[in-house]
């Protein structure tokens, strides 16, 4: 876990457009004129109604998609494709069913050509961090959903990226597991404070985790407002029951409520 330089985790998104051209249908403008800067070591959450392009934005940051206009840089370098500098945690855990837990965590390192034994050593350290030392020889099928998602996070941390991108990583988990997992994520993050961009549709989760919450508007997706979260760290779960916390959640909800109603055909 080497300390990262001052600009290495900085993400700058400038005037980014993304237009999809599905065959034989009207083009879809997913994102339009989107500007966003994420500072090194900052924890940013992205919320918005469904269809606001949250996941699309994350795939652009990772390099899995290319913008049709504008520029994205990560650590000062233009993003042209996936890079070991950034690691993505998907909503479904996407573990390789044929690999043991430890080999799943070592996956990113072995792809980079790190020797198997060294990769496993690094993987073992991450498994200890996420509290799964002792499960390394099991297959993903033998783990619970929450455990699999922790393996998924350990796999992303193992490549020691400057930026961690998470796409609704706890969406498939039940509400209680979800609470604990978000507290766990903060604990893990506080160990070396990577830059984090975390997409979620759960507003209270976003406010609990983030330094700033980016609210996207839908069709076309663009930044509606950036809401700073003033709470000090470390944060404990009871924070969620305070009035100040509730006020911020209410404010963000008011920003996206109309769009959620609109997408349901309500007014």
């Amino acid at each position: 876990m080497t300390a990262t330089g001052n600009t290495s985790g900085r993400i700058v998104v400038e005037d980014v457009d993304l237009v999809f051209h599905p065959p034989r249908r009207e083009p879809v403008v997913a994102l339009e004129g989107l500007d966003l800067t994420v500072e090194p070591g900052e924890f940013v959450c992205v919320v918005g109604a469904s269809g606001s392009g949250k996941s699309t934005l994350l795939r652009l940051l990772d390099g899995l998609l290319k913008p049709t206009g504008g520029t994205i840089t990560s650590g000062g370098v233009p993003v042209t494709g996936p890079s070991p500098d950034r690691a993505m945690v998907f909503q479904s855990d996407n573990l390789l069913p044929w690999s043991t837990v430890i080999d799943n965590v070592a996956y990113g390192l072995t792809l980079k050509g790190v020797r198997r034994s060294a990769a496993r050593e690094a993987a073992m350290r991450q498994l200890e961090l996420v509290g799964l030392a002792g499960n390394e020889k099991q297959y993903p099928r033998q783990l619970s959903g929450g455990m699999r998602q922790r393996v998924n996070i350990a796999r992303a941390l193992a490549v020691d990226p400057a930026v961690l991108l998470l796409d609704e990583p706890f969406a498939a988990l039940d509400a209680q597991t979800r609470e604990i997992m978000s507290a766990e994520l903060l604990r893990i993050w506080s160990a070396d404070r990577k830059t984090v961009v975390f997409v979620t549709h759960q507003i209270d989760e976003a406010v609990y985790l983030a330094d700033r919450v980016v609210v996207l508007s839908a069709r076309p997706g663009t930044v509606r407002e950036i809401v700073p979260v003033p709470f000090e760290r470390p944060r404990e779960l009871p924070l969620k029951r305070t009035p100040q916390f509730g006020q911020i959640v209410d404010h963000i909800w008011s920003l996206i409520e109309d769009e959620v109603r609109g997408s349901l055909g309500l007014s």
Partner: protein, 268 residues
């Protein structure tokens, strides 16, 4: 799950995953089968052209073994399979991989392959015997044609059905095309390949026996045809039992192979 079965736990033990339990199950089912056979032959069916007691079959097999013809027939059939089956499997893997890799090739060849797969290829056995002679060449040809199509189809399906999510994950970790193939596509296809090989072996066994019916110098199918022509029911059924044993051993071998190649699918 090891050790002596407890009182009342005998059935539970028998349903368990231990080696002892699975061997016991095999022995029990064979004993049951032989008992039904023996009772049917002695008390139920009074047609010696259809069935004779198992004990007579065993005696007929013993005679065959004693005069050396059993070894010759078995060796011939196994040699034919040993030449043809690996060729069919390797050829099927290669053709299946080409189809999976190229959509235009797949779409062009698909109608032919579907037709060939559904065709009863044993219908060509008389033709191959006429064209390639009574030796092993005609049997090798039939076995390859019988066995190759399930391998092609399953290889193609296995290689093309890798989960898009896993492929995207691999790409996000910077995997090259070759790395995606090695770490996602190929491991995913292993169970498909094994089940293709399983179907292929059953078809190969049918192919080799029918091909030998239509003219051969030696072989299990040849011996069965010869025994039928001289009304030697015991000898005929003896060779059929041998075929059953070959099929059983192949199935056990393939199951072991699959557990070795795809350990993640084993029940914990």
């Amino acid at each position: 799950m090891s050790g002596a079965p407890r009182r009342g736990g005998l059935l539970a033990w028998l349903g368990g995953a231990t080696r002892g339990a699975s061997v016991t199950r095999l022995v029990l089912s064979l004993a049951l089968f032989l008992a039904v056979w023996q009772v049917a032959a002695l008390h139920l069916i009074d047609n010696r052209l259809l069935i004779v007691p198992f004990t007579e079959v065993a005696a007929a097999l013993a005679d065959e073994i004693a005069d050396g013809s059993f070894a010759e027939n078995l060796a011939t059939t196994l040699l034919e399979l040993a030449i043809a089956f690996p060729l069919a499997v390797v050829g099927g893997f290669l053709i299946g991989a080409i189809l999976a890799g190229s959509k235009p090739v797949r779409q062009t060849l698909d109608p032919i392959l579907t037709a060939m797969y559904s065709l009863p290829i044993v219908a060509l056995a008389p033709l191959f015997t006429a064209g390639l002679g009574f030796g092993i060449a005609s049997k090798v040809a039939i076995v390859i044609l019988m066995a190759i199509f399930p391998v092609i189809t399953n290889t193609d399906a296995g290689l093309r059905s890798a989960e898009p999510n896993l492929v995207e994950t691999a790409r996000s970790y910077g995997a090259t095309r070759v790395q995606v193939l090695k770490t996602v596509t190929i491991p995913h296809s292993v169970p498909f390949l094994v089940s293709g090989v399983r179907v292929a072996f059953a078809r190969a066994l049918v192919g080799v026996i029918v091909a030998e019916f239509f003219g051969a110098i030696a072989g299990v199918g040849f011996a069965i045809a010869a025994a039928a022509q001289s009304y030697q029911t015991g000898r005929l059924l003896g060779y059929v039992v041998v075929l059953g044993v070959i099929g059983l051993l192949a199935s056990i071998g393939l199951t072991a192979l699959e557990k070795r190649l795809a350990p993640w699918r084993e029940d914990s």
